[in-house]
């Protein structure tokens, strides 16, 4: 009789331990920011800023001027220029943009258009001012529908918020998109 009770205790302990191990967040997700989701076209509400996805352009090539030098970048895939609006900033900040593709892969804003006028890497967003900005991604065409624009503060985002903005319907790719101020 005592044997059965001991067995039950051990089994219950093992089940409890298994449940705890199964439900504990993994090492990777512990370091992720809290996601804030929005409906298409709506603003998502973050800790440092709010943002709204305005629209986007797809292109096979992008053209821009860097310090007066015209530059054209081509791609084996597509360029996506995503326009968004930032408002309700609580502290002066920069913003890092990532495209969470339809397959779940993360595409960071491309560094190949660095130096383009109005580029995100040089932009600061200030409290009380509503500003528009854009981010340029390089990604396969099938990652765009069903993908999301993810905006965070740059650097470490633990305990911060990440704004997930779903893609609105975008027009088909054009041969060349120009990035102008």
């Amino acid at each position: 009789m005592i044997r059965a009770a001991d067995m039950a205790t051990v089994l219950a302990g093992a089940a409890l331990l298994g449940a705890m191990m199964a439900s504990a967040p993994d090492y990777n997700s512990v370091f992720q920011p809290f996601p804030a989701h929005a409906a298409p076209g709506e603003a998502a509400d973050g800790r440092l800023f709010d943002a709204r996805f305005l629209g986007g352009r797809l292109a096979r090539q992008v053209a821009f001027e860097r310090y007066g030098t015209p530059i054209i970048r081509d791609s084996a895939a597509l360029f996506l220029i995503a326009d968004f609006e930032v408002s309700h900033v609580t502290a002066s900040t920069r913003i890092a943009a990532t495209w969470r593709g339809a397959s779940g892969r993360d595409y960071a804003a491309t560094g190949r258009v660095e130096g383009a006028p109005g580029g995100l890497e040089a932009r600061w967003f200030q409290p009380g001012l509503t500003d528009r900005a854009f981010a340029v991604f390089e990604l396969p065409a099938d990652e765009v529908p069903g993908g999301r624009l993810v905006l965070t503060a740059p650097g470490v985002t633990i305990l911060d918020s990440a704004l997930h903005l779903p893609a609105p319907p975008l027009p088909g790719p054009q041969p060349l998109a120009r990035i102008a101020p």
Partner: protein
């Protein structure tokens, strides 16, 4: 009774472990946040042996963007070198209410913006109370910082000044600036 003793010992060691682990985090937090504010008048005040004086405030708008203003704040820090040594990582921020915080602009155009707004056309550089090229006892150390703020927020702005060695203590003072238009 013996069991209580063991439990107390366990609790003590647990608290010690947590405390030692938390010490760095608490020190980091104290060096990062400003929660002990010393309110002073708009002219300036003193903190940790260093005197702060607001030399100049000037706000400028451009006709293309009349909703926003560039606010230039020139500060003078003065004190013995030993006191100034605690002022590394000097931080100057603007606040409006509880939930708006502006940091100084640090972009490629900031130097040109400061030189345009400053009446003497000079940029005194960032707030750093230990410039390496300054002589040992040459009076106050000037610095220029420029903020991009909405024009409607120009009334009711407060300036917070702190440094690594003073935080969580910080100087807080109201800032008023007359608005000029730059072509």
């Amino acid at each position: 009774m013996r069991r209580i003793g063991w439990l107390a010992l366990t609790a003590l060691f647990f608290a010690l472990t947590a405390g030692i682990g938390a010490k760095t985090a608490i020190l980091d937090l104290r060096g990062e946040r400003e929660w002990d504010l010393t309110d002073t008048g708009p002219a300036g005040g003193a903190l940790e042996g260093v005197a702060l004086r607001v030399e100049l405030t000037r706000a400028a708008t451009a006709p293309q963007r009349p909703d926003r203003a560039l606010l230039l704040v020139r500060l003078a820090l003065d004190g013995p070198p030993a006191a100034r040594a605690a002022w590394v990582d000097c931080r100057v921020t603007l606040r409006h209410g509880q939930d708006r915080l502006w940091r100084p602009l640090e972009t490629a155009n900031t130097d040109a913006a400061i030189r345009t707004i400053a009446p003497d056309g000079q940029n005194m550089g960032r707030c750093n109370p230990q410039p390496f090229d300054a002589p040992a006892d040459a009076g106050p150390i000037l610095s220029d910082q420029v903020f991009l703020v909405p024009v409607e927020a120009l009334d009711g702005l407060r300036l917070h000044v702190s440094a690594q060695g003073t935080r969580p203590r910080a100087l807080a003072l109201p800032i008023a600036a007359q608005l000029v238009a730059i072509p």
